[in-house]
Symmetry: C2
Subunit: 133 residues, 2 copies
DNA sequence: CAGTATCCTCATCGATACTG
DNA sequence: CAGTATCGATGAGGATACTG
């Protein structure tokens, strides 16, 4: 499973990471993925559209402000669409675009890695701290 | 290729993202991957060990301070090892661990996604800005 | 219900200078 | 060469209050 990855990586370094535009593209996406709520929002929307309040319930700890800001960014980037229904009380639903769904798919490997390696990381930290303390 | 991903994601939401520990593990890794230099450092080390100054040359724009901090964190997490050679002038080499290499492999899908979708994201932003301006 | 508007804090990051 | 120490800017993110 790791047989072809080194090749792919070499291509990144040679053909991509050194070029400014591609490096910016990657940093752009990684910054988004690395922020506190974006990936959690798209992952939560992976199973279907949800309204604002439903999202807030599904994502513990997110403030109204941060959820709004995150949704606006994701909408601006074309990862989800915002649908306002002209009703009283207002109803706003959010739904992933194809690109948004594909981002989740592309993130699965990294999420799996995170879960699988968390114990080893924890152990490494403990050992390091003991060594340097 | 996207056939099995939704299933995997559903498992994440049901079995993982709602549980505090796993969510912390994921956020932990995503924060690391999302920071400005970490993934760039491990990717650069993917082809073999490098010394401090070589890393700095390979990674344009990184300051001594940030490179040091990034390397210390990655070392603490067990993603690379730091080898100090008792020489004058001092020589310090950094090399990925197996876990460090596997992180790069796990990130390839996301990096590929970033490169492939960057144009579409750019277009979406332009359209959004025109719509809301 | 689905937001805005303000204020505030803290962590990240960069620049610069110094050192074993 | 491979760092450390210090300072300062920037901005992500949280708390709270208010609104169409």
């Amino acid at each position: 499973m790791t047989a072809s990855a080194p090749v792919a990586l070499t291509e990144y370094e040679g053909a991509c990471l050194d070029k400014d535009a591609d490096e910016r593209a990657i940093r752009d996406v990684l910054t988004r993925v690395g922020d506190k709520w974006s990936l959690l929002v798209v992952a939560t929307l992976r199973n279907g559209r949800l309204r604002f309040s439903e999202l807030q319930r599904h994502i513990p700890g997110v403030s109204q402000r941060m959820l709004t800001l995150t949704l606006r960014q994701l909408e601006r980037d074309g990862l989800l669409v915002r649908e306002v229904h002209a009703e009283v009380p207002p109803r706003v639903e959010y739904e992933l675009t194809g690109m948004g769904a594909s981002l989740v798919d592309a993130s699965v490997a990294l999420l799996t890695w995170a879960l699988e390696n968390q114990p080893a990381i924890e152990r490494a930290r403990t050992a390091y701290d003991a060594r340097t303390a």
